[in-house]
């Protein structure tokens, strides 16, 4: 493009004008911005002083008038500044664009720059110089590294020091997740032992009047599985015929964050086994851990989702052949999903890699299919999965699946999961007996009793007491070390949900949805009996001062606040 001298000088002038315009605009805008950000007219000391004066003498109408006028000025200043910023930005863009255009036109005819060329670098010298740099910098960096080790190391807070107490608290259980206040990872909490951490859980609520019900949502599909919690998320399963679903629910709001399918993966079974029609396919409780949740359904579909609702993997373990329907809940130990697989044709305990969904180990079990769920415990330093089978109770090493110990247990239909404390494992079957086993490589029966033999509800044991709620409405507290019944009581409704110990109380939830809260102590002291207003068979979950209960149709969040 060739421009005449005249045009060029015109463009030059224009570019100067637009340049100055842009600068002025930019300057005003920066000033407005500074004004808005630093000396906000709305929080100016003058205004504050006037308000103060007004507060001292509130009846003086003149003062009020003065406040109003000054406030008006301040607001005007504020909104003018805002307006300046908004309109200024457009002017700035236009001005700058024009400036650039004119500038560019002005220079379009200019000859190419002719400057004196510097001497060319000599290749061999460059090489030599860089070789030197390399060696020098290596020396310098090594020196720096040594110095930094001396100077910076003492500056760091020693992670070991502040950590020590925490380690000893969690370390004693030998890699078994201890109950923690936030996460409620499995059926009956951490380890599946029926103990929840934390305190300040509600003792009063009413599902009918809404008292202390923070939220309540209908669970889209029916299920007998209990809620589990990780972080801010609740996980739940539901099923309707062969439509299987995993729900992730916001703990605080009750919003269903996502719904994952339990049958939408290659190789999924679409079958609906002919088992207990009432219970349905979503009986097993899911298990949650950092970044993942696993759920298993009545037809052997096992799925793992991450916490955002992405399917990590899905696999079918084979459709269980089971008279009452498959019902065992999942456990997660480190990066293994542990499944108590109960089918008339295949009886096993299986460890599956949480990342890939591949079977890591599988150990066959003896006896017949049961309905209990496994628990995760640690005895003699070995993390182990304990299964109340029929007719044996067996512990398997969690990492390898090897049998650690086994002994004859109960022979009837078994649906009750083991309870345990630091010394004993408690197992039981209805119409049979309750057995306390001294756990370890050489297991032994510590005591037996047949007064209270629950059919569904599993025992919860602390180191001092063993709590039982049975299928006739009876509850009892045993001395953990002997078959002595410390107290007992009879509530008219049967119990299916398992009792949970939390904050020094024991929570018994009966089938009509009434929670019987009793002090977890050697003497009977009923604290309260709040009603859910809905039938409930699922074990409640406890987290951060709130209780989550799944009724027949709804999920409740019960909270004091």
């Amino acid at each position: 493009m060739n421009l005449t001298e005249k045009q060029i000088s015109l463009f030059r002038t224009l570019s100067i004008i637009t340049g100055i315009f842009t600068m002025v605009i930019a300057f005003t805008m920066i000033m407005s911005l500074i004004q808005l950000k630093s000396s906000d007219p709305l929080s100016s000391p003058a205004l504050a002083a006037v308000y103060e004066q007004f507060d001292r003498d509130p009846d003086n109408a003149a003062n009020a008038e003065y406040v109003r006028s000054l406030d008006l000025v301040a607001r005007k200043a504020y909104f003018t500044a805002r307006w300046q910023l908004e309109t200024g930005s457009y002017l700035l863009v236009i001005g700058a664009a024009l400036f650039v255009l004119f500038r560019w036109l002005t220079y379009s005819n200019e000859p190419l720059i002719k400057s004196k060329l510097s001497p060319k670098p000599v290749l061999t010298e460059t090489r030599e110089r860089n070789r030197r740099y390399l060696v020098i910098s290596a020396a310098a960096v090594v020196l720096l590294a040594v110095i930094s080790s001396f100077i910076l190391r003492p500056l760091m807070p020693d992670p070991g020091r502040t950590r020590s107490e925490k380690v000893s608290a969690t370390g004693s259980a030998g890699e078994i997740p201890m109950p923690d206040e936030i996460n409620f990872p499995f059926f009956r909490g951490a380890g599946g032992r029926g103990i929840a951490a934390g305190e300040g859980y509600p003792v009063e609520w009413n599902g009918n009047s809404g008292e202390n019900i923070r939220w309540k949502i209908p669970v889209p599909k029916h299920g007998k599985s209990s809620p589990v919690i990780w972080g801010d998320k609740i996980f739940l399963t539901g099923a309707d015929g062969s439509a299987l679903e995993v729900y992730c629910i916001d703990k605080n709001t009750g919003n269903i964050l996502w719904t994952g399918s339990g049958s939408d993966f290659p190789g999924a079974s679409k079958e609906t086994p002919e088992s207990d029609q009432e219970a349905g396919m979503a009986v097993s409780t899911a298990a949650a851990t950092e970044g993942a949740v696993c759920a298993i359904f009545g037809n052997g579909n096992l799925v793992a989702y991450d916490h955002t609702g992405k399917l990590l993997w899905g696999t079918n373990l084979g459709v269980p052949e089971h008279m009452y329907g498959y019902s065992s809940s999942l456990l997660i130990w480190k990066d293994l999903v542990i499944i108590q697989y109960d089918s008339d044709t295949r009886l096993a305990v299986i460890g599956i890699d949480l990342k890939s969904g591949k079977i890591r180990w599988e150990t066959p079990r003896r006896g017949r299919a049961v309905n209990s769920s496994p628990v995760l415990a640690s005895f003699e330093g070995i993390p182990q999965v304990i299964i109340n089978g029929s007719p044996e109770v067996t512990a398997f090493e969690a990492s390898t699946g090897k049998e650690v110990w086994t002994m004859p247990g109960v022979k009837n239909d078994v649906a009750v999961s083991p309870g345990y404390n630091k010394n004993y494992v408690y197992i039981c079957a209805n119409y049979e007996k309750l057995i306390a086993i001294k756990a370890g490589k050489n297991p032994a029966v510590a005591w037996e009793d047949n007064t209270y033999t629950p059919d569904v509800s599993s025992p919860a044991a602390t180191d001092e007491f063993l709590f039982i709620s049975d299928g006739t409405g009876g509850v009892a507290c045993y001395d953990a070390g002997s078959n002595k019944v410390l107290w007992e009581n009879y509530f008219s409704e049967p119990f299916y949900a398992s009792p949970m110990v939390a904050d020094g109380k024991i929570y018994f939830l009966d089938r009509k949805g009434v929670m019987h809260i009793v002090k977890a102590a050697g003497t009977y002291e009923l604290i309260s009996q709040p009603e859910l207003g809905e039938d409930a068979d699922c074990t409640p979950a406890f987290s951060e001062k709130r209780i989550y209960i799944r009724g027949v149709n709804n999920l409740y969040c019960i909270s004091n606040d």
Binding site: M29, L33, L92, P121, R131, S148, R163, E290
Partner: protein, 426 residues
């Protein structure tokens, strides 16, 4: 009669309000019952407006791809500086002022590293695409993203009128800053601590006119500097430019100064404001061809030593670096309060006191964060050490050139050199 009490009533009511408050505060429930209106008043309904349609995000990606392709074509085939300037202008208007700089390849580095190293974070797909697509183009046609698409680059490109040549040594020293910046940005975002690239983005304040004014002033100063020392952000700060630099070095095609064969006329030598033209060694002595053979294994070993030393330095500095993390900062504040009695007054500390988190949990989290920094920092150190060592090594073992060609790493494909080459395409 009533007038007499008029003065007291408000006090009484205020007092009542406080009683209400104290009684009901714990419950946090409806303090005042929902009114039962006698008139036919209905609750106003909010017309909440949604985020602009997600279609726009796809449009952003489409515009990105289109702009990159167009720039590639202009750089490689059309060889039109003018065209590149127009594309820059468009990108500045679209990605800068219209989209307000907040879908940005430069910042997406942090989303990627946060997503890579954190299981619970998932990043927007568009951010991932904005990270990958320009790199893909860099591997194909050099830093075309920097040339015409990046709004940060465009605003500087359009304001760089004069060129002051920077001494190559100073250029080299300043040019190493982005590597450190990238390393820190990745470390900070991978540990979920800070997004420093976004926080210290100098031009986004200009795009939106809404950043802290210090950043706006910094941005304007940088622009003013850029009139003389062109593209200062790209050369001496931009962390994404480092990735572009690395990818562009191995690009399949790249801008060439001359459309045909170089005649070694030296005219293009002063044309590049970025010092990104590699001088030809055509007249150099023949011995230069001889490869440096000594130290075949020694020098790689030295590079390894540099990398290891950097890793050690970074590891030692990890707790110091962890100080940028929100939780670590809070933990320090709380600890100071506990040990030295300095009152913790920050908003975070106030919120912490209100929350149910215990101090133990906070301190455990602090240790956790420091641990993560310790795990990550050595890798950053290795990256820095390798970049430095390999940089020297490359120049140390360089082979002679027979043509003037752009330095593929540093050349942003701006096309300023086109005009200077007297050779006509054959």
């Amino acid at each position: 009669m009533f007038k007499k009490y008029n003065r007291i009533i408000p006090y009484l009511l205020t007092g009542l309000m406080f009683i209400w408050h104290s009684v009901l505060y714990a419950q946090q429930q409806m303090r005042y019952p929902r009114p039962e209106f006698e008139t036919d008043y209905t609750y106003p309904t909010y017309q909440y407006i949604s985020q602009r349609s997600p279609v726009w995000e796809y449009i952003d990606v489409a515009v990105l791809i289109a702009a990159l392709s167009l720039t590639s074509w202009l750089v490689l085939k059309k060889r039109s500086r003018q065209g590149i300037v127009w594309v820059s202008l468009f990108s500045l208007a679209y990605f800068g002022f219209f989209r307000q700089g907040c879908i940005c390849a430069v910042g997406s580095v942090q989303n990627v590293s946060l997503a890579l190293f954190n299981s619970d974070y998932s990043m927007p797909l568009t951010a991932l695409l904005f990270f990958l697509i320009p790199l893909g183009f860099a591997l194909f046609s050099g830093r075309v993203f920097c040339a015409g698409v990046c709004p940060l680059g465009a605003i500087q490109e359009l304001t760089g009128f004069r060129q002051v040549k920077v001494n190559p040594k100073i250029e080299a020293v300043l040019g190493s800053v982005p590597f450190v910046y990238l390393g820190l940005a990745v470390l900070f975002s991978a540990t979920g601590s800070q997004f420093i690239i976004c926080r210290y983005d100098p031009f986004v304040g200009i795009f939106r006119l809404g950043a802290p004014y210090i950043m706006v002033i910094f941005g304007v100063l940088l622009l003013v500097t850029g009139i003389f020392v062109n593209r200062p952000y790209c050369r001496y700060l931009c962390p994404y430019g480092v990735l572009q630099n690395i990818f562009s070095r191995f690009s399949y095609r790249h801008l060439s100064i001359t459309p045909a064969e170089c005649i070694n006329c030296r005219r293009c030598e002063p044309s590049c404001p970025y010092g990104a033209i590699n001088v030809s060694d055509k007249d150099a002595v023949d011995e230069a061809v001889v490869k440096p053979s000594a130290g075949r294994f020694l020098y790689p070993a030295i590079i390894a030593v540099i990398a290891a030393s950097f890793a050690l330095i970074a590891y030692n500095a990890a707790p110091l670096l962890a100080g940028v993390n929100k939780d670590v900062m809070l933990a320090k504040e709380i600890r100071l309060e506990k040990e030295k009695g300095i009152k913790a007054v920050s908003e975070a500390a106030v919120a912490f006191r209100e929350s149910s988190t215990s101090e133990e949990e906070l301190f455990a989290e602090e240790i956790n964060v420091i641990k993560r920094f310790r795990a990550g920092a050595p890798w950053v150190g290795i990256f820095l050490g390798l970049s430095l060592g390999l940089g020297f090594y490359r120049r140390m073992t360089r082979l002679p050139r027979t043509e003037y060609e752009p330095d593929r790493g540093r050349c942003v494909s701006c096309g300023k050199c086109f005009r200077y080459c007297p050779v006509k395409p054959n």
